[in-house]
């Protein structure tokens, strides 16, 4: 807070509590203490009061103690010259405001003044489902605004909010600069799946009026819910937030602190104050800040930028006329961007807006020369891709520029130089993530039908098919794909993505030079991202619901056994959800470098496995190997006769030299038990220098599923080179060459497999 805000918020709170007390007195006289009070279609009574105080209010007279509590939370205004601290006091006053506001709405329901009347208005959607007994409108009342959200809608939205499909909710209070801006703001929020609650007014004019005038459909179906044209109705947003915590967080009524923290951590909501901010709005904002919801205003108000009660800034002022932008529409878009950034809302754009089908199904598609419209890179031209981190205010999310000629300037089956430069910014973004993100370009671009992507960095080679070009696929669509997918897949670390596609020769030259400098720098640093270079590994308990005692420990050189989570993923996951399934394991003292024992990992193994496992060796299959749930990509198993191990992957349905198929073996390897000689792993662990390094490393691999050998040929070859035996992969038997131990032994002898010469594995 600042003294300015504190003064107004406390004043607003005091006024509202007084108003609530006055209304309650009147209602007690006129209606009687036993009069029923309730919000429609909810089992949570008056939800905010229930959550914060534990009181199940169902009668008017039960509001008395609630308002007494609210009064106790009020404080004197900060003195003008010798002030005592006011932050805690203001937050308390904010809570008093919320309690009073909910009490007022409850009393208004008693008088039939809620939901607010709005003649001629029809709500969109949800009719039969939420109010079976009524004809139209979500609340069964034509000519009325929505009022509080009912439990059925809460459940349908709430779970999306919690699991991230719906990135957050916006509580808009006030009126926009113009109807045009009001519509744009709401469209921008809808586009991002952000739920929008509308309330409040400026001098009698509300954003609800503005949207109705413009014919915008309001209601559950459009994710844009009109609560009421006064500030008090904004309480429904916080009642909704409280119920999210009670319903999905499993929190008990009255556990106020936990409910508020749950919202801070998981419900990505913010308040957008449009137009003048008066005392009551400041007071309500102070209440919202208790939930960790920041306030963004489009007028000049004092900013509160330090963090803590909220995750990022508390109060941000973005005077609408000062927002950069060609016109008001662009300013509105920027304003929404800012809100998202301040709350740390993670936007996932599910659709990839390109004129061709898009999906992982197209990843393996090949574009043959005959079908090719154009290629970038390869023999006759140069293409490169380069991703760099930028500051949040340096780039514009979703901006895609093509610098230089387009593909129409190139003849059929021609070739063209291309530089794809991606700038990403995010609060959790780190320089170290650059190469990880850059590596995703291959998968992302390959997802488009009619596009083939090979290679990476400055040996990128992309082909575009005639079919895709005919459908209108152009250079800018590479940008669209990348923007969409980075948000969808890396929302945890990426807040903004801007892409530039260079076909201009000079630009390419200069960017390529910068990119190469960076590749070189990363090569040196990426090599540092080894187990020895970090201080923490990460736990992964995503699948503990299947194997309650299993814990994955993920290190830079050993990814999760499911193959889906590597160390950086875990780090990112932890940064978005610090109480989630991936927790840092501080290594502490190193006990045995060769086998991979640390104090921290052992300690964690004990705790995470609930005492079933007491030690875990990160790099050994023979001694205290890591346990597995059942979702491993591959199983590594000892073949004693061969003095080595075999690796069978999930896709391999054939017999192995161990005399068992993958599915039979899976029963032995899974379940969270330590079985020396058997281990479930992610397939990329095979190529890690730390792959069973305590037992001799990759040279121990005597047999692999053929399918694995084929799909990972390149990576495996690199391992062979690393191990100093370029022919190593050829010496490893596979399903085609050996299905029994006898065949295997014969093969190994014949091909001089190095495992035979290694010291005994046990």
């Amino acid at each position: 807070m600042s003294r300015y805000i504190a003064t107004r918020a406390i004043r607003g709170a005091s006024a509202l509590v007084a108003e609530a007390e006055w209304m309650l007195d009147r209602a007690l006289t006129e209606k009687g203490g036993e009069t029923k009070v309730e919000f429609p279609n909810t089992a949570y009574h008056l939800p905010l009061i229930l959550g914060m105080t534990g009181q199940e209010v169902s009668r008017l007279d039960q509001l008395g103690p609630v308002l007494n509590h609210a009064r106790q939370l009020l404080h004197p205004l900060p003195s003008a010259d010798t002030w005592t601290p006011y932050l805690g006091e203001t937050l308390d006053s904010g809570m008093a405001t919320l309690l009073a506001a909910e009490a007022i709405e409850a009393i208004r329901f008693v008088y039939g003044d809620q939901p607010e009347s709005m003649p001629g208005f029809h709500l969109a959607g949800g009719t039969a489902f939420t109010s079976p007994d009524n004809g139209s409108g979500a609340n069964g009342k034509d000519g009325h605004l929505n009022g509080p959200i009912d439990d059925i809608q809460l459940r349908s939205w709430g779970i999306q909010l919690v699991d991230g499909r719906m990135p957050g909710f916006a509580a808009i209070v006030g009126a926009a600069k113009s109807n045009e801006v009001a519509v744009k703001l709401v469209r921008e929020l809808q586009r991002r799946n952000i739920l929008t609650f509308l309330s409040g007014n400026v001098n009698g004019r509300s954003i609800i009026h503005q949207l109705i005038e413009e014919g915008v459909e309001l209601g559950y179906d459009t994710y844009t819910v009109p609560f009421g044209t006064d500030t008090i109705s904004a309480i429904y947003a916080l009642g909704f937030a409280t119920r999210s915590a009670l319903t999905f967080g499993g929190l008990k009524a009255g556990r106020a602190r936990d409910i508020l923290l749950y919202n801070r951590e998981r419900v990505f909501a913010f308040v957008l104050a449009l137009g003048e901010v008066d005392d009551l709005k400041y007071a309500a904002a102070a209440g919202a800040i208790n939930f960790g919801f920041p306030v963004i205003a489009d007028t000049v108000i004092p900013q509160i930028l330090p963090t803590g009660v909220t995750q990022y800034e508390h109060v941000v002022s973005m005077p609408f006329n000062e927002i950069e932008g060609a016109d008001d529409l662009e300013r509105a878009e920027r304003l929404v961007q800012k809100c998202i950034e301040v709350r740390g809302v993670k936007v996932r754009v599910a659709d990839v807006p390109v004129p061709v089908p898009y999906g992982s199904a197209f990843e393996g598609e090949v574009v043959r020369r005959a079908d090719m419209r154009i290629e970038f890179g390869g023999k006759n031209s140069r293409a490169f891709e380069y991703l760099q981190m930028a500051d949040l205010d340096e780039i514009v999310d979703g901006r895609i520029d093509v610098v230089g000629p387009g593909i129409e300037t190139v003849e059929a089956q021609g070739t063209m130089d291309l530089g794809i430069v991606i700038q990403v910014a995010g609060r959790e973004m780190q320089k170290d993530f650059e190469p990880v993100l850059e590596r995703q370009i291959h998968y992302f671009i390959n997802g488009a039908s009619g596009v083939q992507h090979i290679g990476q960095r400055d040996i990128t080679w992309i082909r575009l098919s005639n079919a895709a070009a005919e459908k209108g696929f152009g250079l800018e669509h590479f940008g669209k794909i990348l923007h969409a997918r980075f948000h969808a897949d890396f929302g945890a670390i990426v807040d903004k993505v801007q892409i530039t596609l260079y076909t201009d020769k000079t630009e390419i030259e200069s960017w390529l030079a910068r990119a190469r400098e960076s590749y070189d720098f990363r090569n040196k640093r990426l090599a540092d991202l080894t187990d020895n270079a970090v201080e923490e590994f990460y736990s992964c308990t995503l699948c503990q619901s299947f194997a309650p005692d299993h814990v994955c420990i993920v290190s830079p050189e050993r990814l999760g056994l499911c193959g889906a989570y590597n160390w950086l993923d875990c780090k990112a996951s932890f940064s978005i959800n610090p109480t989630g399934p991936n927790q840092p394991i501080w290594l502490g003292k190193q006990l045995d470098l060769a086998k991979g024992y640390w104090e921290g990992t052992n300690e964690y193994a004990k705790v995470g496995s609930h005492g079933v496992v007491s030690e875990v060796a990160m790099y050994s299959i023979m001694e205290n190997p890591m346990t597995a749930c059942g979702c491993f990509e591959c199983i590594v198993m000892l073949i004693p006769e061969a003095n080595g191990v075999m690796v069978v992957n999930r896709e391999d349905i054939g017999m192995t030299p161990a005399g068992m198929t993958f599915s039979t073996l899976a029963g032995i390897a899974g379940g969270g038990l330590q079985t020396p000689g058997v281990m479930g792993v992610g397939k990329f662990y095979l190529v890690s220098p730390k792959f069973i390094s305590a037992d001799g490393g990759f040279k121990r691999v005597v047999w692999m599923s053929s399918i694995l050998k084929e799909t990972m040929a390149e990576e495996l070859q690199a391992v062979a080179e690393r191990e100093g035996d370029p022919d190593l992969i050829g010496r490893i038997a596979d399903g085609k060459s050996a299905a029994t131990v006898e065949d295997l032994m014969a093969w190994l002898e014949e091909h001089n497999h190095p495992a035979l010469l290694l010291p005994p594995i046990f």
């Binding site: 010798t82 005592t84 137009g275 330090p306």
Partner: protein, 670 residues
């Protein structure tokens, strides 16, 4: 060397003090300031190289290779001297804690006249820490059990004192590894005395290891007990508006100054001064009423909780008497100069000793007993009122300043999030982001060997400009208060841009008054809570924080320094070191001095260094803070990144004429 006479301005930066020193010169009486001029410190004692623990000496070791008669080396002698000082300091704090525990016991048994348990919530919180059952028990039963548990910590012989459980887990484990967890408060003090007797522990590092254990029995023992119980009995402090400096004395009222360290009697005097009977008695004597004020840490105790004005810090005790307006100076324990009595003879002021432990020849003794505390308090006030008629010419400096004290760690939690969201998160965030570069505790005494308050204030002002948040206790706190640094306004115009944002957000002064010197334990608790909140490491020594006592002088200060270092803090002491050695004359005579820095840092992550130049103190403090920031992987401090929060823009806009204001404020409205 010719003796240079210092001017009043050179004695103190405080104009009130300067005025009284001029008056002292006019009257022709001496003060600690002038005596410090006249008394050259013993250079051998100052170096820690004089041993007088047995009758074969005293041995003065001033030559290369020299040992004491018993063969004790310089470093052994220094370690013993320091260890004894620490033991004395720990004893003083802890004995204060013990008295508090006995008072709590008496209150619980209904035997203490006038007292009550004012902070039941804190009683419950503290009791719960030690797993004392709360369900279905009366406040008195709980208080009784807590009092017994606390009393037992003093006499406990084996095991670990329970209070150490409050430290971060990593810290406690380290102490356990190093075998320095105190077994019982008294036992460690006694053992410190035993070990330093002639012919006992004669390995300096071994002696100092036990000194740490003794100090821990203070910081995570006696002192923490004292703070907890003071809060339980008299209320946990929360911010209020107070005043300080000699200007708080009143011409037309009976001025009673309480001085010393304990809140037990002074709180009762506060209550009694409001008694209509006493008020009437004062009016009958021709005064407008009773004006109570404090000196030293007794002042801090009643300032923090009741907003009673603080007449000044340690060096103000004589200056208050020099006003001629003090009817009675009521003293309890610690830091009371014997000189008061002789000085008071020049005026009408009565020096009233009250502690069974403290009598001063020539002073009036009115012994305090908690069983009839209220009656005694009234008797003392009556004696003061009776003395009003004897008042002669007065001269009260017209110098005072307001302040906002009352920052208990409980309130700090609250202020950072309110009732529902109280936590240290915003503070940790502020440090992690770099808005607050680090935290410095500036604590400790006044010392007439330096210019009064100068070192405190110089260091404080410099650190504030560097966005270092200050927490203060004791006489250092009063120094800052006198300069207006404990006002919200100072958070706007005396600090760097990041700290300003924090001060403005919370509404705090940039210097937080956390209480008396025994309340340094509040700082330990804050550090522990910051560690627990996360993001600033796993232990106190990870936190970008320093402790500074620029004008230290008491043995208690040394005990505080030792327990802070043992807790992982970097402690910088101003003035001279009691174990400085004479490295220019005797080689290796500063081994102990070095050990306090390097040796302790290796063991505890904390260290004690003596730095006389205040700019060097600031430099080292910032260097340490930046080192800790870097170790935590926090962004380097960059002041210019911050400062965009706050009211300024808004307030400027509000000055505009209505139409312009409307356009500027509500840019969004056509």
């Amino acid at each position: 060397m010719p003796k240079s006479k210092r001017t009043p301005e050179e004695f103190s930066i405080d104009p009130a003090a300067q005025e009284m020193l001029i008056r002292a010169a006019e009257i022709g009486v001496g003060t600690a300031f002038s005596r410090a001029e006249e008394m050259t410190p013993c250079n051998i004692g100052a170096a820690g190289m004089c041993c007088k623990i047995c009758g074969m000496g005293p041995c003065r070791l001033t030559k290369e290779g020299q040992t004491g008669v018993c063969g004790a080396t310089i470093d052994t002698i220094q370690a013993r001297n320091l260890s004894r000082a620490i033991a004395a300091g720990a004893a003083a704090h802890s004995d204060h804690g013990r008295d508090m525990a006995f008072t709590l016991k008496a209150v619980a048994n209904g035997e203490a006249e006038g007292y009550q348990i004012r902070d039941v919530a804190k009683l419950h919180a503290v009791a719960a820490r030690y797993e004392i059952p709360l369900e279905g028990r009366t406040t008195e039963e709980i208080a009784n059990e807590l009092a017994d548990l606390y009393i037992a910590q003093f006499g406990q012989q084996r095991g670990e004192i329970l209070i150490t459980k409050n430290a971060p887990a990593r810290r406690l484990a380290l102490w356990q590894d190093l075998k320095v967890v105190p077994r019982g408060v008294d036992r460690e003090v006694v053992e410190a005395l035993h070990r330093t007797h002639i012919g006992d522990d004669q390995d300096p590092e071994h002696i100092l290891r036990h000194a740490m254990r003794t100090a821990l029995a203070d910081g995570w023992g006696g002192s923490m007990i004292a703070t907890d119980i003071s809060d339980i009995l008299f209320g946990t402090p929360a911010p209020l508006v107070g005043r300080t400096n000699l200007g708080v004395l009143k011409e037309d009222m009976v001025n009673v100054v309480v001085h010393g360290h304990e809140p037990t009697l002074s709180e009762m005097i506060v209550a009694a001064s409001l008694d209509p009977e006493i008020q009437e008695y004062a009016r009958a004597a021709g005064a407008q009423g009773i004006n109570l004020s404090g000196i030293c840490c007794t002042a801090n105790e009643i300032l923090m909780r009741q907003g009673i004005p603080a007449a000044g810090n340690f060096l103000h005790q004589e200056l208050a008497i020099l006003t001629g307006a003090v009817e009675a100076m009521v003293v309890d324990v610690q830091c009371i100069m014997q000189a008061l009595v002789a000085l008071a003879e020049n005026f009408h002021t009565k020096i009233i000793t009250t502690s069974p432990k403290v009598r001063i020849t020539g002073a009036t003794h009115m012994e305090f007993d908690e069983h009839r505390a209220y009656s005694i308090a009234k008797e003392i006030l009556r004696a003061a009122i009776d003395n009003y008629k004897n008042r002669g010419k007065t001269q009260i400096p017209n110098v005072q300043e307001r302040l906002v004290p009352g920052f208990s760690h409980e309130y700090i939690r609250y202020m950072l999030g309110g009732t529902y969201r109280a936590s240290f998160r915003p503070l940790n965030d502020a440090i992690m982001s770099g808005r607050i570069r680090g935290v410095a505790a500036i604590v400790g005494c006044n010392n007439p060997r330096s210019q009064q308050d100068y070192l405190h204030i110089h260091v404080a002002r410099e650190l504030l400009k560097q966005d270092v948040l200050l927490v203060e206790t004791g006489c250092g706190a009063i120094a800052s208060a006198k300069q207006g640094l404990m006002l919200g306004q100072a958070g706007l115009d005396q600090v760097g841009p990041g700290l300003r944002e924090i001060c403005e957000t919370i509404g705090i002064p940039p210097v937080l008054h956390m209480g008396s010197c025994v309340d340094n334990t509040r700082i330990l608790t804050v550090l522990t809570e910051m560690v627990a909140e996360g993001g600033l490491g796993d232990d106190i020594d990870d936190v970008p924080a320093v402790g500074i006592a620029p004008e230290w002088m008491s043995e208690k200060a040394l005990s505080i320094a030792a327990y802070c270092a043992a807790s992982g803090a970097y402690v910088i002491f101003g003035g001279s070191s009691p174990v400085s050695g004479m490295p220019d004359r005797v080689a290796d005579s500063e081994l102990v001095l070095k050990y306090l820095s390097e040796g302790w840092e290796e063991l505890f992550g904390g260290k004690l260094e003596f730095v006389s130049d205040p700019d060097e103190m600031v430099r080292r403090a910032l260097e340490h803070i930046d080192k800790k920031r870097a170790a935590l992987g926090l962004p380097a401090y960059q002041a210019e990144k911050f400062g965009r929060s706050g009211d300024t823009q808004m307030l400027e806009l509000e000055k505009l004429p209505f139409t312009e204001k409307r356009a500027a404020l509500y840019g969004a409205v056509e």
